[in-house]
């Protein structure tokens, strides 16, 4: 019966992946949560009840309003406000967007970079491969967080402090991205080595196809699955890395806070009873990372259980 399927829709509907997806509660729930978070945060201008980042719109007298269900909280500020009278709910939406942007761009950067190097290294082999892979080793020698800190430090040294705040985001993206590429390069290379020795590649070469076509038309589509999986898990890690750096105060500036920055700012109020200021951003961060991880976990099990 599998043979009769033709239309793309049918094929998807029929595919085991889709089937196991709609039959895996975790995958469904997590992806629903993700979709919601993505939409709300990317359209936060329209979703958010307030605009938390134009100072003139804030009123200091609103500061430290607790969440609406706590006494003397009100529904104007669902999750209450921070020390500047900023609506936490809105701030979180905006913050989430920044975290996501940084996470996505960073992972995209490292995927492209890593896969390109890994693919070519695996395909051409020889000296080139050795060099690339040694580079990857050296890169791996420097843990991501440390790498990011270093780069941030270097940038601080190179450009003026005012400028630094403006480029902070790009520094973050680059820093996190550059420190993640080796794992993609390794996986891509590994998969390439496997595919490269399969007969369909030999066939392609006997036909006389140029290397470029063989690599990108034949090999690349066949090694995307593992990349996708570690990419997803990498995304969660990237987001956490971003928030960690922001927490350490070397991330995005407080004027446009990411979740990590919000947590850092709220952390000062942890003992003063204004628990919500640090709680909600942390909560959102964990939910975000968690649902991405759940999805990645499910992918790992269905797409290819082999990689770890």
């Amino acid at each position: 019966m599998a043979k009769r399927t033709t239309g793309i829709v049918d094929r998807i509907w029929d595919s085991d992946i889709f089937h196991s997806f709609i039959h895996s509660p975790t995958a469904l729930i997590s992806s629903c949560i993700l979709v919601i978070i993505l939409l709300t945060s990317f359209f936060c201008e329209f979703v958010a009840p307030h605009d938390p980042f134009t100072p003139s719109s804030l009123s200091l007298m609103d500061a430290f309003t607790p969440p609406f269900w706590v006494e003397d909280g009100n529904t104007v500020f669902l999750f209450g406000t921070d020390g500047q009278g900023r609506d936490l709910f809105s701030a979180i939406l905006y913050g989430t967007r920044i975290s996501l942007i940084v996470g996505f761009s960073a992972i995209l950067f490292s995927v492209i970079f890593g896969v390109l190097l890994g693919l070519t290294a695996g395909y051409f082999g020889g000296r080139y491969e050795t060099i690339i892979m040694r580079l990857a080793d050296v890169q791996l020698t420097i843990p991501s967080i440390l790498m990011a800190l270093l780069i941030d430090g270097v940038v601080r040294g190179l450009i003026s402090r005012e400028l630094h705040d403006e480029v902070a985001i790009f520094v973050l993206i680059f820093a996190i991205g550059i420190s993640e590429w080796p794992q993609f390069a390794r996986v891509a290379r590994g998969a390439t080595l496997v595919e490269k020795n399969k007969d369909y590649i030999s066939a392609a070469r006997i036909i006389g196809l140029p290397n470029g076509i063989i690599m990108f038309k034949h090999i690349l589509p066949n090694i995307l699955r593992p990349i996708l999986v570690i990419g997803t898990i990498g995304l969660a890690l990237a987001i956490l890395a971003e928030s960690t750096l922001s927490f350490l105060g070397v991330g995005v500036p407080p004027t446009t806070p990411s979740l990590g920055t919000l947590i850092r700012l709220g952390n000062d109020f942890l003992f003063s009873g204004e628990w919500w200021i640090s709680f909600f951003p942390s909560f959102f961060l964990v939910i975000l990372a968690f649902s991405i991880n759940l999805l990645g976990d499910w992918m790992r099990d269905t797409l290819n259980p082999k990689i770890n």
Binding site: A2, R127, K198, D199, A203, I207, G208, N222
Partner: protein, 557 residues
């Protein structure tokens, strides 16, 4: 009653979409001291039965009904603690000796462990017994090999170790699941001999599960033929294979390549697919046929290839492995030339060099008049067009992410890009027709096809450039005999019609005999003898050729 009796066994797998019945109403029995052959093509459920007896069915396999009576115990009954009998009364041998031993334990450890699990004897005795076992299965100087790790044994030796392990608690019955499929013929014959010896020495009951009629016909006392989980017929090999009563068995038997004579085509009985012979080949219209002069198409002069891994970080380089040593031969237009040899004989390496996948270390290869090592640019492209290849593994030889039409159209486009979309589509259809595939296949993906169909597809792809030389590297060794017969027929037809020259590489002597006009026998990368097929099989001159032919299992119904 017999020692092991299986009655109305039903086994089924519940997959996501439907309940697959793997085994249906199977009943047979084994006596002590007899070898029962379970024979059938892939999917016939023969291995499933083997596993079921040991209660080792893979998830989600389940015994639905029937009984497996080991003397007074019903192993099929979930209540009985089957694991208590594993290894103790029933031994199991796996197909691939490479993977069935734990790589990080010495064979000694594994033997001792097994022995002491079943027999209450102290380490000393256990060790003594282990070494005896190794002796029995023919491991030379077992005492010292005792402490070696699996990877230090050759494939044949490993399989002997596996057998020794299966015999640790000397069980009354041995289930051998394709015990020789992964091995070379010469080793295969030794292992089979060993099984026979053990059977008689220890009065073992042996269930031999295999797809290889020849093997069955050689050593089985009784044979059970399975198809789709049902028993087709059973009895003595002579009776069942000699004059089968069932059409399926007939077809099966008839598609086994005979070793003693060369037949023109394999008789395909009520085959679901008609053969290319009946219909006229549309691709002929495109094919510019020229008379085969019988002049030499490929000339190989003292060809050598040695592999040495050079990574520039390495301090001490290993000494290179000589895969091919000073090989010379020529292939004439229109003939089909065979390269035979056991694994590691370098036959595939030679093929790769001829199709210019890898470069020779030394020596020359001429295709038509030009030295292919010098080719590049347009001349290389022209060469590529004239020589194509069909590979062994039907699963890895097609890009799973591409539709069939694109797979086949790719070489066409690459070699004459001026063709319009229409022409290409027609061409693809014609090619599909040429290999007896429905035009509807064009929009499907490889995973939707069976192994045989995939081989047809890769043949179609190979034909797409209208090559002169078709290199077939073990094109059928991954297929069931009946499918193999069809593919071989197809190749024969195409060669006839299209005047193809074929370089046929195989380890399977009967197949080679059926396919090839001239044959080169290879061993450790060197040519032993080159001769006409008939001559070689009737009167081999080289000792190794003789050895090969002798150890090749004869299918004599």
């Amino acid at each position: 009653m017999d020692f092991l009796e299986i009655t109305n066994l039903n086994i089924s797998y519940l997959t996501r979409r439907l309940l697959v019945t793997a085994v249906q109403d199977v009943s047979f029995s084994v006596k002590k001291g007899e070898i029962l052959g379970l024979v059938g093509e892939s999917g016939s459920g023969k291995s499933t039965i083997g596993r079921a007896i040991l209660g080792l069915l893979d998830e989600p396999g389940k015994i639905e009904g029937g009984s497996i009576q080991l003397e007074n115990l019903n192993l099929a009954d979930p209540a009985t603690e089957v694991s208590a009998f594993r290894g103790k009364r029933i031994g199991l041998i796996f197909q691939d000796p490479q993977t069935s031993l734990n790589p990080v334990m010495t064979v000694g450890e594994q033997l001792l462990e097994t022995i002491q699990t079943h027999l209450q004897i102290d380490a000393g005795d256990a060790r003594k017994r282990a070494i005896e076992l190794l002796d029995d299965v023919g491991i030379i100087d077992a005492k010292t090999r005792f402490d070696d790790y699996p990877h230090q044994f050759s494939g044949g030796m490993r399989q002997r170790v596996v057998i020794a392990l299966a015999l640790c608690a000397d069980p009354d019955i041995l289930i051998a699941d394709e015990p020789t499929t992964a091995l070379d013929v010469s080793i295969q014959s030794q292992i089979l001999a060993l099984l026979q010896k053990l059977r008689s020495d220890r009065n073992l009951a042996v269930i031999l599960i295999t797809h290889d009629m020849a093997v069955i016909s050689e050593i089985a006392d009784r044979v059970v033929v399975l198809k789709d989980g049902r028993i087709v017929e059973m009895g003595s090999p002579a009776a069942v294979l000699g004059n089968p009563s069932q059409t399926y068995t007939k077809r099966l038997v008839s598609s086994v390549p005979p070793t003693d004579r060369r037949i023109h085509r394999f008789p395909i009985m009520n085959s679901d697919q008609g053969s290319a012979a009946d219909q006229n080949l549309k691709i002929l219209n495109r094919w510019q046929l020229q008379k085969n002069t019988g002049a030499s198409l490929v000339r190989v002069k003292s060809l050598s290839k040695s592999f040495s891994d050079e990574s520039f970080m390495r301090i001490a380089a290993k000494e290179p492995v000589h895969a091919v040593r000073d090989v010379s031969f020529e292939i004439r237009e229109g003939e089909s030339f065979g390269l035979v040899g056991e694994s590691g004989s370098g036959k595939s390496t030679i093929a790769k060099m001829i199709v210019k996948l890898i470069e020779p270390t030394s020596g020359l290869i001429f295709f038509e008049q030009d030295d292919i090592t010098t080719l590049e640019g347009p001349t290389l492209l022209a060469f590529r067009r004239k020589i194509q290849m069909v590979f062994q593994d039907p699963y890895s030889s097609l890009n799973g992410r591409m539709k069939i039409k694109n797979i086949i159209a790719e070489p066409i486009l690459h070699h004459n890009s001026q063709l319009g979309q229409m022409d290409i589509d027609h061409y693809v259809d014609d090619l599909l027709a040429a290999v007896d595939l429905a035009a509807s296949s064009r929009d499907r993906y490889p995973h939707e096809f069976s192994g045989g169909q995939r081989q047809r597809i890769s043949i179609a792809r190979a034909l797409a450039t209208q090559p002169k030389l078709l290199v077939c590297d073990e094109p059928t060794s991954a297929l069931d005999v009946s499918i193999q017969a069809q593919i071989l027929n197809l190749l024969k037809d195409l060669q006839e019609k299209l005047g193809l020259t074929i370089l046929f590489i195989s380890h399977d002597l009967p197949v080679v005999r059926q396919m090839c006009d001239r044959i080169a026998v290879l061993r450790d990368g060197a040519v032993c003898e080159i001769a006409n097929a008939e001559r070689l099989f009737d009167a081999p001159t080289h000792s190794y050729s003789r050895h090969l032919l002798n150890s090749m299992p004869k299918f004599q119904p």
